[in-house]
Amino acid sequence: MAQSTDKVLQVELVAADRLVWSGQATMVIARTTEGDVGILPNHAPLLSSIIEGVVDVQTADGETWIAAVDAGFLSVADNRVSILAERAEMSHEIDLEHARRELERCKEAGENDDEAREKVRRAEARVRAAERAS
């Protein structure tokens, strides 16, 4: 880490219809299909599919940003990290109560098929993101 302190990651968190967050970060954690992955500066180029989950960004000035994302991609090259998801929300944009009710509703609807499971995962991610931020 010592020699990479002068290096930071340029992060862009992008949803289909807007740029959700962009800035400099020292670490990014996201959930890929294979499990959680943490990206530090000078990471090898990577292109990976991510699933519904929470993205954790530690900025260069020591703040932590948390976002809930849909299935999408994570791409890393030349200290640029882009996280692409059809939908993405920063934790402070999520209404926790509302997200909890949504999760209850999704769970009650059952987890029988892929679509329902995806909905539950998405709701869980939003609740988790909102809880961690508060």
């Binding site: 949803a15 294979e34 991609f73 030349d78």
Partner: protein, 305 residues
């Protein structure tokens, strides 16, 4: 001078109220167009990053994918035509439809059957009136499309493209999109592009000499990443087309309504002139009648004295 002053007044009034309507529509379109442009700009980072990722995979790995494979002899093509839901936008919808007809002719000339998919009520109505089959149509969002709609359209088209020929009636070998490109507030251009099979532009930035190409790691595997990447790429292209079309529609409407307002102004001016002329003619006639009457009276009195 066929009509009376009263009737001209009524015409002026109705033209004035029509002018108020067109003026309001012009202002509404003008204010919405800014939002539409902002939406198009907001969607740009996603499209840009997605393109970068796709070209990264295409450049740094040798994976063929069903969506990029050129069929050997294409027999059927699908066309998605992006029109508006509402009229009063000048030649907007008809110029898209004209461009689409040209493409249909061209594809038929190449010996391909054409399946039509439309977005927007105008396109649907156009083909319904001509009793031509439309495979599927989507309506109700033309001035502010959401990504969900684009995703749904994309899923339908990809399904049609991937279906094995013969297995289903809907199977197509190519997919084209006809939409209106927003170049500026003044010019919008109907454009036809081929969406599938995908032509991926390789290499976002040409690597410098001596510079080593980054070797990407793919998780879980190149083909699986490509599997989920390419459909999203297609959807994002469709979303882009819808956003451009929305901005163009509003610009076309603003222009059409502006000229309608100007025409109403001209018409009011013309009617006012004619009405004034008619009023003047009425007054002149009355005066000459009075003067004639007075003269006749004076002549009669002079005769009797």
């Amino acid at each position: 001078m066929a009509l009376s002053v009263r009737e001209y007044r009524a015409r002026i009034r109705s033209t004035e109220s029509m002018k108020k309507i067109t003026r309001a529509m012009e202002l509404i379109a003008a204010s919405r167009i800014i939002k539409a442009q902002q939406r198009a700009q907001a969607a740009a980072p996603y499209a840009r990053e997605l393109t970068r990722a796709v070209s990264a995979v295409a450049t740094f790995s040798n994976v063929d994918h069903a969506l990029t494979l050129e069929p050997e002899n294409p027999k059927r093509a699908a066309i998605l035509i992006v029109t508006s839901d509402r009229g009063l936008a000048g030649a907007y919808s008809s110029s898209v439809l004209k461009e689409a007809e040209r493409l249909v002719e061209k594809l038929k000339g190449e010996g391909k059957d054409v399946d039509l998919y439309t977005s927007g009520r105008k396109g649907e109505a156009y083909f319904k009136f001509r009793q031509r089959a439309v495979a599927q149509s989507w309506t109700g969002f033309s001035d502010q499309p959401t990504y969900d709609v684009a995703a749904e359209i994309g899923a339908t088209l990809i399904e049609a493209f991937l279906a094995e020929t013969g297995e289903e009636a809907r199977a197509v070998d190519e997919v084209h999109v006809v939409y209106t490109r927003f170049r500026s507030m003044l010019s919008q251009e109907p454009t036809a592009v081929r969406l599938l099979p995908l032509e991926v532009v390789e290499g976002t930035e040409p690597p410098e000499q001596n510079d080593l190409l980054p070797l990407y790691e793919f998780e879980p595997s190149p083909s699986e990443v490509l599997d989920s990447l390419l459909p999203r790429y297609v959807q994002s292209r469709i979303f882009f087309a819808l956003l451009q079309a929305a901005a163009s529609e509003l610009a076309a409407r603003q222009k059409a309504m502006k000229s309608a307002t100007d025409n109403a102004d001209e018409l009011i001016k013309k009617y006012k002139r004619i009405a004034n002329q008619a009023r003047q003619a009425g007054i002149t006639q009355e005066i000459s009648e009075i003067v004639g009457g007075v003269n006749a009276l004076a002549d009669a009195q002079a005769g009797s004295e």
